[in-house]
């Protein structure tokens, strides 16, 4: 819908939008162009500016076996954390949506994880999963070494993935519930009249109707495993033991700020950026074609 009534002014609209435009150009587009520049150049050791090296930095990154294991790990992380979190959130939302007595109480608790910072969850779950203290400790007393994220890479990765999945339940739950509540009641009533029991309606009616939201959440969750994972990994494992929880973002941070390899980090940033852009783009394309039932 195009607006017909406008204000006329030559300067004012630019003054209004200028602050945001300047911020966006300085803190988003300029750094992105810098990342591109660094990714295709190499800083010379004795100073004297950057030298154009074409795709050498990318070749260096892609030729590194360690990078590919990071990519594989990120993929495993993304898929499993997303699946666990969305699965739990969807089941909870489906049952909360039935609106039985006392549901409001459950509903408000299910949102809580949304309020937490990734590092806070990281610290809390590090204690919960600690092999010596707390909960898991008794298991380790019975079977020594059955759980030790400090030395066992697989255990560490499982620990981080579970923490991430738990952290995103709140966000996923809110969106699933919102989508379910937007389904017109008459459709559910018609289904009931045709003899569909509640469980049948969940599977054949509600699930297909919230497919667009599910897809939206799928993309958002995968992107969040690329971005939010930093706070968890930095507080829980710092990428260890021996790099077994190092995902793409953490490697960029490590290579850029600890090893000071800007060109390599920039090349990796570009790759990650392309992944995020592709995912977001797919998401937009989907939204455009999205069917509205309400």
């Amino acid at each position: 819908m195009e607006r017909r009534a406008h204000y006329r002014n030559r300067i004012l609209p630019w003054l209004l939008i200028a602050p945001q435009l300047i911020l966006v150009l300085v803190f988003f587009y300029w750094p992105t162009s810098q990342a591109l520049y660094w990714a295709f150049t190499l800083e010379q050791a004795w100073g004297g500016g950057n030298e154009w090296v074409g795709f050498d930095n990318f070749m260096g990154v892609f030729g590194d076996g360690r990078y590919w294991s990071t990519v594989g790990r990120s993929a495993v992380y993304a898929i499993s954390a997303t699946a666990i979190s969305m699965g739990i959130a969807l089941v909870l939302a489906l049952f909360v949506d039935r609106g039985l007595k006392g549901t409001k109480l459950f509903q408000s608790v299910f949102i809580w994880p949304y309020a937490l910072a990734a590092p806070v969850v990281g610290v809390a779950f590090r204690f919960i999963f600690s092999p010596q203290a707390g909960m898991i400790g008794s298991l380790n007393r019975i079977w020594p070494g059955i759980w030790d994220p400090a030395t066992n890479g697989l255990h560490a990765l499982i620990m981080v993935i579970i923490s991430h999945a738990w952290l995103s339940i709140g966000y996923n739950f809110v969106f699933f519930l919102a989508a379910l509540q937007m389904i017109p009641r008459s459709i559910a009533e018609a289904g009931a009249m045709d003899g569909a029991r509640p469980a049948r309606r969940m599977l054949d009616l509600q699930l297909p109707l919230i497919a667009p939201t599910t897809f939206f959440l799928l993309i958002m969750n995968i992107i969040s495993t690329f971005t939010d994972s930093f706070g968890l990994i930095d507080t829980m494992t710092e990428g260890g033991p021996i790099g077994s929880t190092e995902v793409m973002v953490y490697k960029i941070y490590y290579d850029g700020f600890k090893s000071l390899d800007y060109s390599g980090a920039a090349a990796q940033s570009i790759v990650l950026m392309l992944i995020v852009i592709t995912l977001t783009f797919v998401q937009f394309k989907w939204v455009e074609r999205r069917i509205h039932y309400t």
Binding site: R3, R8, L12, L16, W30, A192
Partner: protein, 305 residues
């Protein structure tokens, strides 16, 4: 609920209780551990009932991580980012929706596409910007030859430099641009009927008066929703404060200090103090979400559309 089905109702409650256990257990463990004494927290298996040492653990965490000033810092940053985002989003959306100029869609897309560039994927170059926020302008002046021109004429060499490291500006400013906020405001402004604009024009009000006296009051609910989301996300910032503050004692935020409370590998396993710290850090955003739930849920729903 459409029909009665006591079996399915039972399943429903069972699933919801199970969900409650999954969600609440970590919160409960943090709370319990924060109330235990050192020998109690080291005991295996962990007691699941609170003890009486909550206050002393809280104050131990408070003094060890120097949480007082850090809380003030976090509050300043969270408030600054939230207010900044809302202001800037409302102004840009106003400009895009209520003025008719050719570049407005371009401007909107420039802002909106930043959704694709989360901070985490551009940390390395953004950090160099924080060291000198005026670098892009300097480069522009250099590239267009204005620098050398002025140097030739006036004999002054322009060196633009504005270091944002270790300052509130550095913690706040780069986080203020908001695609989500601008989009939300734009969506809302588009629903304002043309008649309202025409009526206030006829009454002789200019654009700014219309903005302050019509649009702002009308968008109060959206503003609350947006404020909740923005406050939570800025309170929880971790990576950016970690990078721009090397001066931890003066500019550190609570979320980054939490890591310092984790017991060392071979040190005293005083997790009770760590959990007390975690409790303090998670409480403000949790309270905000609990109290603002109604508006915040609405805000998220609009974001989806």
């Amino acid at each position: 609920m459409i029909e009665r089905s006591s079996l399915f109702d039972f399943v429903t409650y069972a699933v919801m209780v199970l969900g409650l256990v999954i969600i609440i257990t970590p919160f409960w463990i943090v709370l319990v551990a924060a109330s235990l004494s050192l020998p109690e927290v080291a005991r295996v298996p962990l007691t699941l009932w609170p003890s009486s040492h909550l206050m002393e653990n809280l104050s131990a965490a408070w003094s060890r991580a120097d949480l007082g000033p850090k809380l003030v810092n976090t509050l300043i940053v969270a408030a600054g980012v939230t207010i900044g985002k809302i202001t800037i989003a409302a102004l840009s959306a106003f400009s895009i929706v209520f003025f008719n100029y050719r570049a407005r869609m371009l401007c909107f897309w420039l802002i909106f596409l930043t959704l694709m560039l989360p901070l985490e994927v551009r940390i390395v170059p953004t950090y160099s910007i924080a060291a000198n926020a005026l670098l892009p302008f300097q480069t522009l002046l250099d590239a267009t030859g204005i620098t050398s021109l002025i140097e030739a004429i006036a004999g002054i060499r322009i060196e633009l430099n504005w270091n944002l490291l270790n300052s509130y500006t550095g913690l706040i400013l780069p986080l203020i641009a908001t695609a989500t906020g601008t989009f939300l405001y734009r969506q809302f402004f588009m629903t304002i009927p043309d008649e309202l604009v025409e009526a206030s024009k006829m009454d002789g009000s200019g654009p700014m008066r219309f903005f302050f006296e019509v649009l702002i009051p009308l968008s109060r609910t959206n503003m609350l929703a947006l404020a909740t989301i923005m406050f939570v996300s800025s309170w929880n910032q971790y990576l950016w404060p970690l990078l721009v503050t090397t001066d931890r004692p003066n500019y550190g935020t609570v979320v980054m200090e939490l890591k310092a409370l984790i017991p060392a590998q071979n040190g005293t396993p005083d997790w009770n103090v760590t959990m007390a710290g975690a409790l303090l850090v998670m409480l403000p955003p949790l309270l905000v979400v609990a109290f603002m739930q109604r508006w915040f849920v609405r805000g998220l729903i609009t974001k989806d559309k």
